[in-house]
């Protein structure tokens, strides 16, 4: 029997997209746990949704895993202390996306003492599981940061029978999901089984790009060992960016197109990041909330690119310093080079959704000179969602709301394929954002 026996092939074709150099330099370096930082900055907003309200105040003693922020809002996820120590202040900090949000700053006492004897939550039924996932603080760990319990709490009348586990990891450089597949294979399979059992999925597809054969091998082997082959299957996808985008992975794995403004559950499936699934499984076993994550540290300014297990709230500079810098960096990116955010400085804390920190020197990233648009249409060819960035740009400049709407600007997910492909070096993603903002403003005015 070959190692990849039973591997599913993608059933749908994804058009567009781009082929960037993979640069998965850290793929075969095992994850290292970093020494405890002296201080962590834990922002109250690490997800899409409402920010949490701090439940501790200055001077409080907190222990690792203790709840320090929660919200009454449904679309939100609680945050926990990632180290034990004393709350030195509660105030506003700037986070990776540039926003200023309230945060709890904890001076570590170095002991990393756990808050309580964590107990496995009761999650035998749907409500229990969803409450448990909410309590764990889990948000999409693939980069989107959407609260996981909201996603899992799909309307009961919707027929949702498939769980697609996203292990595509199509962004260059990032290997944290890949390491999860290699290092925590069992957790992924257990998590998939548990979620299916409680939420009633009849099929689980672990979808992986074909440039990661080893991940597919270990997953296939584990499924075989656990005799889960009738429920869980591994699927190989074409390696191209942005294969890991929700709409693209559903198109590829199930040959179903999610209409603009709709969700995977509208076509009968849920998409979860592979690391999120593995975390869910660990949480259900131990009850230990989300207080650390694996981060890929790479880029040409970094001396030794690595995958690090870091506590939430450790600052970006400290994380980079652990890997060392060989040259002075000019640009630091939280996330991948296609969709990540360039940071103004290194003082911002790492968030739940940040899967990579990349540091590049001046000239370490290709800088394309801007030329006149020659209407070559390469942006349209590259757009996986069949949008026409060049026409959208024109409509925005003309302030033509109807035209913009017809061109579907709101379905743009800002994957950056258009700007990547543009030979004129136009900042097309910014143009798309301008178009969206303009349309939102117009809609507000209408109301």
């Amino acid at each position: 029997m070959s190692k990849l026996d039973g591997l599913l092939k993608a059933v749908g074709k994804v058009k567009g997209g781009v082929h960037a150099d993979y640069n998965k330099n850290t793929a075969e370096t095992a994850t290292i746990r970093v020494p405890l930082p002296r201080k962590v900055v834990v922002p109250m907003l690490q997800h899409i949704g409402a920010p949490c309200v701090p439940t501790v105040k200055k001077g409080d003693t907190v222990k690792t895993g203790q709840l320090i922020g929660d919200s009454e809002s449904y679309v939100s996820a609680p945050v926990h202390a990632s180290v034990s120590g004393t709350v030195s202040s509660v105030g506003n900090v700037r986070i990776t996306n540039g926003a200023t949000v309230p945060a709890v700053i904890i001076e570590s006492d170095g002991s990393n003492e756990l808050y309580e004897r964590f107990e496995p939550p009761k999650a035998a039924d749907r409500d229990g599981l969803i409450a448990a996932v909410r309590a764990s603080g889990l948000v999409g760990l693939g980069g989107a940061g959407f609260p996981a319990h909201v996603k899992l709490n799909f309307p009961k009348d919707k027929k949702v029978d498939t769980l697609v586990i996203n292990a595509a990891e199509c962004e260059p450089y990032i290997t944290s999901d890949y390491r999860e597949c290699i290092e925590h294979t069992g957790d992924i399979i257990d998590g998939a089984s548990k979620l299916s059992e409680v939420l009633g999925f009849s099929k689980v597809i672990i979808a992986c790009e074909d440039n990661k054969p080893r991940a597919m091998e270990v997953l296939t082997q584990k499924i075989r060992d656990e005799k889960k082959g009738s429920l869980i299957r591994v699927m190989t996808l074409a390696s191209k960016y942005p294969m890991g985008a929700e709409k693209m992975i559903v198109q590829s794995a199930l040959n179903k197109k999610i209409p603009p403004g709709k969700l995977p559950l509208d076509v009968g499936c849920i998409v979860m990041n592979v690391t999120s699934v593995a975390f869910t499984s660990r949480y259900l076993k131990t009850g230990k909330p989300l207080i650390s994550r694996t981060v890929t540290v790479d880029g040409n300014a970094v001396a030794e690119p690595k995958n690090l297990r870091v506590p939430m709230g450790m600052t970006v500079s400290e994380i980079i310093d652990f890997c060392g810098l060989k040259q002075e960096p000019a640009k630091i990116i939280a996330g991948g080079p296609m969709m990540g955010t360039a940071l103004v400085d290194g003082s911002v804390p790492i968030l739940k959704k940040d899967n990579a920190i990349l540091a590049f020197t001046e000239g370490g990233l290709p800088h394309k000179k801007e030329w006149d648009c020659i209407r070559c249409g390469k942006c349209t060819d590259a757009c996986p969602l069949f949008l026409m960035p060049m026409h959208i740009d024109i409509r925005t400049r003309l302030k033509d709301a109807k035209g913009l709407e017809a061109l579907g600007v709101m379905s743009c997910m800002e994957c950056g394929s258009c700007a990547y492909a543009c030979p004129a070096g136009k900042p097309l993603v910014q143009y798309m954002r301008l178009g969206k903002e303009f349309l939102k403003e117009e809609e507000k005015l209408e109301k």
Binding site: V18, A20, P172, K247, K257, P259, P260, A303, S317, D321, F322, G324, L325, K326, E328, P329, A330, K331, I332, P337, M338, M339, T341, A342, V344, D345, G346, A359, E362, K368, W371, D372, I374, R375, C376, G377, K378, T380, P384, F386, L387, M388, M390, H391, A406, L407, G408, S411, E414, G416, A419, Y420, C422, P423, A424, G425, P427, V429, Q430, R433
Partner: protein, 347 residues
């Protein structure tokens, strides 16, 4: 860990890093890179032109290219806009315009055409990306209207080797090579000196500088398609449409078909001019409509028109229609469902 740089230390110095919108990486393709590829793809045809029509073809080409570059530079300067010579688009226009001229074209006329192409057709409308018709074709049509005799005086192929000063009178070879006056085709075919199919392929025939050698043009086209500079949609639909119409019009005479396809500027136009990004639709569907439109207009002009300019006029007409084609062939976003279909599905 000992390291020369520490991001903590850098931070203490209050160093701010570069911020920009994502994505932070990009493809290697650039505008001048694309133009360079177009120039490379045109070089076999230029070499063929030198072999067929002699060194004067180089001279004509040089005049066109230099006057295009100069007028681009000077007009931008006069309009107080940034210098765009380095994007190489003016060079491409110069080369393409030269390819559309007879080798014995007076040089000053070639220069006038170049200036018109760059200044009037391109820069007056906002420069690269904003011209509504292809500058080289605009230049060619302007020359044809102003200097019809010079524009249709074709040199005999290889004449430069034997008797350098001999050029033929316009009409005969014109009919033979251009095949643009269908009514006279029978008469023309009867006349002596009609090139064989093989001559048509290798370019041993009269015609404009760049259009003679079919093989060189196809070579250039294959290069452009292989380098993904152009898509094959427009050349295939354009030439295919002409071929189908001519097949019926010529009552399945394959020689007639061969002359129609290889004669005149059809291949040059379909591969290098109709595919100009700026003036053709941006979607595949739009490109197909554009190509078929060009083919139909070319065929109709060649069969029924009193003007010889089938290819040029067809491209310029479709250029003008491009914004409309773009509008009706606009793509629907991924997963788009028509509201009607959606309602039916709900019901």
């Amino acid at each position: 860990m000992k390291n020369k740089f520490s991001s903590l230390k850098i931070m203490e110095k209050n160093k701010l890093f570069t911020v920009s919108a994502s994505p932070h990486i990009s493809s290697r393709e650039t505008v001048p890179g694309i133009m360079r590829d177009v120039l490379i793809s045109l070089s076999p045809a230029l070499a063929a032109a030198v072999l067929i029509f002699g060194f004067r073809s180089l001279l004509v080409t040089a005049v066109c290219v230099i006057s295009c570059i100069l007028s681009e530079y000077l007009s931008r300067k006069a309009m107080k806009r940034k210098n765009t010579v380095s994007d190489l688009s003016a060079t491409v226009t110069g080369l393409l315009l030269a390819f559309n001229l007879p080798v014995d074209m007076p040089l000053w006329m070639a220069a006038v055409g170049s200036v018109f192409a760059i200044v009037v057709v391109k820069q007056f409308f906002g420069g690269l990306g904003n011209n509504f018709v292809n500058p080289a074709i605009g230049g060619r049509i302007m020359l044809l209207v102003c200097f019809p005799v010079a524009m249709s005086t074709w040199a005999l192929p290889m004449a430069w080797r034997t008797k350098p000063d001999v050029t033929t009178g316009a009409t005969l070879l014109y009919k033979l090579s251009g095949m643009d006056m269908s009514g006279d085709i029978a008469e023309g075919m009867g006349a002596a000196g009609l090139p064989s199919m093989f001559d048509m392929l290798i370019g041993r025939r009269g015609g404009s500088l760049g259009e003679a050698c079919t093989i060189a043009l196809i070579l250039g086209g294959v290069y452009l398609i292989a380098r993904k500079i152009i898509k094959p949609v427009i050349p295939l639909s354009f030439i295919g449409t002409v071929a189908v119409i001519m097949l019926f019009a010529g009552k399945f005479d394959l020689d007639f078909l061969g002359y129609q396809i290889m004669g005149g500027g059809l291949i040059l136009g379909a591969v290098f001019m109709a595919t100009d990004y700026v003036t053709c639709p941006s979607t595949n569907k739009g490109k197909l409509v554009f190509g078929i439109g060009c083919g139909v207009i070319t065929a109709v002009i060649r069969l029924y028109g009193s003007l010889p300019e089938g290819v040029s006029y067809s491209i310029i007409i479709m250029n003008i229609l491009t914004p409309l084609i773009d509008r009706v062939t606009a793509l629907k976003p991924f997963g788009f469902v028509k509201e009607k279909a959606e309602k039916e599905a709900k019901a």
